[in-house]
Amino acid sequence: MSSPLPVRPDDVRDLVDRIRAGDGGAFEALFRAHYGPLCGFATRYVRDPALAEELVQDLFADLWAKRRAWEPRTSVRAYLFAAVRNRALNLRARQAVESDWLDRETVAEVRTLHHEPPPADEVLASAELHARLDAALESLPERCRLVMRLRWREQLGYAEIAEIMGISAKGVENQLSRGLKMLRGVLKDRG
């Protein structure tokens, strides 16, 4: 597992410059590279894939319209994910549905896992493993699940995730530590 996504800052810088200069090919490349991951991320907030797609398409259309003023501070990916999160939160605030999403993101659900530790010689069907992982994930706050997604699916760095989620790098570490320990608890061998 030695090759994460190659992100070369020079290339990214170049891409931003080209888009600012009105290069449609560069803009299309940016769109195609990030559309799927951004939609997946947005769906975690708005719960509706069609709404998520609309949100991401709006973002890119606006980005193009305002390209001359575009100045991502750190990385392009962090900018895009952060913009999606902001728009998703705004959307939810506008719709004023259900409870405040920020609360749901922040507050851990207090449910605990109720299962006896299996005997050492017990065999475990994969279905049970999956069910227990689901339960473990369910017991974690949404913010923790989002951080894990950004880290392990999008392979972003701590600083980028911190920028996207509006928390400190230490906070990112805490979320990952907490999430992984919870998931690790599902695997009962203590090897």
Binding site: M1, S2, S3, P4, L5, P6, A21, G22, D23, G24, G25, E28, F31, R32, Y35, G36, C39, G40, T43, P49, A50, E53, V56, Q57, F60, A61, W64, A65, A120, D121, E122, V123, L124, A125, S126, A127, L129, H130, L133, L137, R145, M148, R149, R151, W152, R153, Q155, L156, G157, L176, S177, L180, K181, R184, V186, L187, K188, D189, R190, G191
Partner: protein, 357 residues
């Protein structure tokens, strides 16, 4: 499927403890050093339950979803040139849409001169509204998703199959009443209802393939600036879109090629299945350099393939894929190439086998 496994007694492997979460984190994030990756692999290899656990975690937290990027891009590209909002998305694979010749389509090549310098002309959709005098025709666009194909019947009865990641445009209203022109980007198979009074023409890459009573495939991918026509049955005329060039008439089994410059070239010994195979779900790679085969593989399986060792691109591949999954196809390729690959979601990286960690 229910796989069973037992738990092993604890073992100390490479100094890894169950609570060494930063190591697992870096491994999952693709940020582990080679040494860390080795430690992690050893830990995973010691017990099948660990591998199953890790795969299940990945499936939950890092699983990919399928999004129709082509259709989404068509919508965004249209919005960047039109003030009005594009109508909502229809069915995900076959997407009718109102748009103009100016939006996102290579037929707007003449706009290149208007739009000016740089790569901005590339797709034509940036052309300033006032700068281009182009007939406003409502076009219907059909996009075949990457990883799939699309089949459609045009209003005149012509049957069309589009290969993965290809798109076709035609007049949204009145198609078949006059000349039947369609615009292709990618690869399409046409089974045309011949009608000499209403010529059927496929336009792509500055060329025109005109039906003379036939079934044929037109191939015009962005990565190869040439138009290729393989005739399965009947005859097709191939010429350049601008007036005055040479024209060639192709018969069954003949391949016509129209490069960026020069007259059409007709070849009798082309491998027909290589061009027609996809219409029945077969991807044929007949001894082509891997670098040339990559775009086809990427579209067919909706993955992005990188070559860590550039020499791999020159190795030749002969393969036939029909029902194989992505993993099976990649395994077969790796074996044939003497290479290995890593896959993170949609990103696949091939390494020369000798460069083992």
């Amino acid at each position: 499927m229910v796989r069973m496994w037992g738990f092993r007694p604890p073992a100390c492997l490479g100094g890894m403890t169950p609570d060494d979460w930063p190591l697992i984190d870096r491994y999952l994030a693709g940020a582990a050093t080679p040494d860390e990756a080795r430690r992690m692999e050893a830990w995973l290899a010691a017990d099948p339950a660990r591998r199953a656990w890790l795969d299940a975690v990945r499936a939950r937290v890092a699983a990919g979803e399928a999004w129709n990027v082509d259709a989404a891009w068509a919508r965004v590209a249209a919005r960047t040139t039109r003030a009005d909002r594009v109508r909502p998305l229809g069915r995900p694979d076959v997407r009718p849409d109102r748009t103009t010749w100016r939006t996102g389509w290579r037929v707007a090549a003449s706009l290149a001169l208007v739009a000016g310098a740089g790569a901005a002309w590339r797709a034509g959709w940036l052309a300033p509204r006032s700068g281009a005098r182009v007939e406003q025709v409502a076009m219907r666009e059909v996009v075949a998703p990457r990883g799939g194909r699309a089949t459609l019947r045009l209003p005149d009865g012509t049957q069309v199959k589009l290969n993965a990641g290809s798109r076709l445009r035609y007049a949204a209203a009145g198609f078949g009443a006059g000349d039947r022109d369609v615009w292709l980007e990618g690869e399409g198979y046409f089974e045309v209802r011949h009608d000499a009074a209403h010529p059927f023409r496929v336009r792509a890459h500055g060329g025109v393939a005109e039906d003379l009573g036939t079934r044929f495939v037109v191939r015009a991918y962005p990565e190869a600036p040439r138009l290729e026509v393989m005739v399965a049955e009947g005859r097709v005329a191939l010429r350049r879109a601008v007036a005055g060039g040479d024209s060639a008439v192709l018969g069954a089994g003949q391949l016509g090629t129209l490069a960026a410059v020069g007259a059409p070239v007709v070849s009798d010994d082309a491998h027909a299945e290589r061009y027609l195979g996809w219409t029945t779900g077969v991807l044929v790679l007949d001894d082509v350099p891997l670098a040339d085969a990559l775009p086809q593989l990427e579209r067919r399986y909706d993955v992005t393939i990188a070559l860590a060792d550039r020499t791999l691109g020159a190795r030749r591949v002969a393969a036939r894929f029909r029902d194989q999954s992505v993993a099976e196809a990649l395994d077969a390729l790796a074996l044939a190439l003497g290479a290995r690959y890593e896959r993170h979601g949609q990103l696949v990286t091939f390494h020369a086998a000798e460069a083992r960690r």
